[in-house]
Amino acid sequence: MKAFHLRVNGERKSVTVDPSTPLLWVLREELHMTGTKYGCGIGACGACAVHLGGLATRSCLVPVSLIGDRDVVTIEAMSHDAVGRIVQNAWVDKDVVQCGYCQSGQIMSVVALLKSNRAPSDTNIEESLGGNLCRCGTYVRIREAVKSAATKLA
């Protein structure tokens, strides 16, 4: 066990865990931030996406020992983020969610995309979200919501 000092959503957090513990479990089990979801545990579904040092990252794959001084941003911070808020509103407007389990990961990936590209093409959207799976099949509505958010950001 070892102590780690993280900055999560702008706040200092300290945890004492095994260094090999994935960030996902630090968030969910130690910090009780359950908005980030466990889907597959092997980086294949994207449900656990967070932003690490500004990059969309699969939190199930990153041991806490490799985080260093990089900022961690999770879905819990999106309502206070200019782009995140617009994306969340677009999600509501387009009624994207069915079961909702994958959606925090979807939104984290979309926010990363729109912060880099304010006018993504269909190809951009498909490529950037290609690693975020939705077993309810809401992909069409996700794309509509991304385009709607992009329009508002333009």
Partner: protein, 166 residues
Amino acid sequence: MFLADADGLAAWQKIYSVLTSPRCINCHTATNYPQQGDDRHRHFANVIRGPQDKGVVALNCATCHQSTNADSTGVPGAHGWHLAPLSMKWQDLNDRPLPSSEVCRSVKSQLDGPHLLKHHEGEALVLWSWSPGRRPDGTMRTLPPMTHPEFVEATRQWLKAGRPCP
């Protein structure tokens, strides 16, 4: 054929055997995606090359690959994880390694001697090939067919012989 040429060609064949080993060729692909595993299957999770060979936004190489191996999760890592550019592909579109002669000419056209030696001696992703970490099942990834010092020595010998190609 001069002896020096024979030695140089033998050294090249050693280099070629490393370049076309899975640890190297999986990221020296001819496709718009990386490969993984000793069977060189397509990288899972719809990972694609992207405009700068580092994936695309929200699905960058760094979305999973950190600056060092993550043995607890089985994800390999090294500083600056990325695909080699298409100009340095070592395979054809059918996933077969390019012939030795073709790779040799490609290497010669891409890097001069000093840069090639520097790349083979110290590039983080080259060095990673000899410290590739554990697979998700906990077993060690296989290594290239010779040690890193032997690989560097073969590179030196090839350069010394004038970079002959088959």
